[in-house]
Symmetry: C2
Subunit: 79 residues, 2 copies
Amino acid sequence: MVKVKIYIEYKEGVEDPEALTVKKSLSLLGFEGINSVKISKVYEMEIEGNKNSARKKAVEICEKLLANPVIHRYEVNVD
Amino acid sequence: MVKVKIYIEYKEGVEDPEALTVKKSLSLLGFEGINSVKISKVYEMEIEGNKNSARKKAVEICEKLLANPVIHRYEVNVD
């Protein structure tokens, strides 16, 4: 069993509507001095097999399900 | 300017509907041997001030906006 972490974030230059909303909400709530907000998602999975096969599977999972290649970039870390 | 990372995840024992959906989708797509899926979110912020005040502000942001204390636990890391 291999622990895999998949990080997914927006590519540089792609607008993240959720991050914009958080930034706006912070300002409405009176928080000052927040200059940028960036949101990413981490998927932790336990995958059967060895490190190599788990990494391969994780990359396939990103491409087929989790990440949209037009707007996201992803990174796979295998423990 | 301080870089702050806020990690938000579901507490142990709280069901994460998104993670369940991902797990189900993976199985429908034919991926086998995925034993668990856990999702967390990372908010990276640039906050003005020193490390102490930035950490304090980040904790307040978690409590007032980003995290639901009933179901989430959060962690604040200051670079």
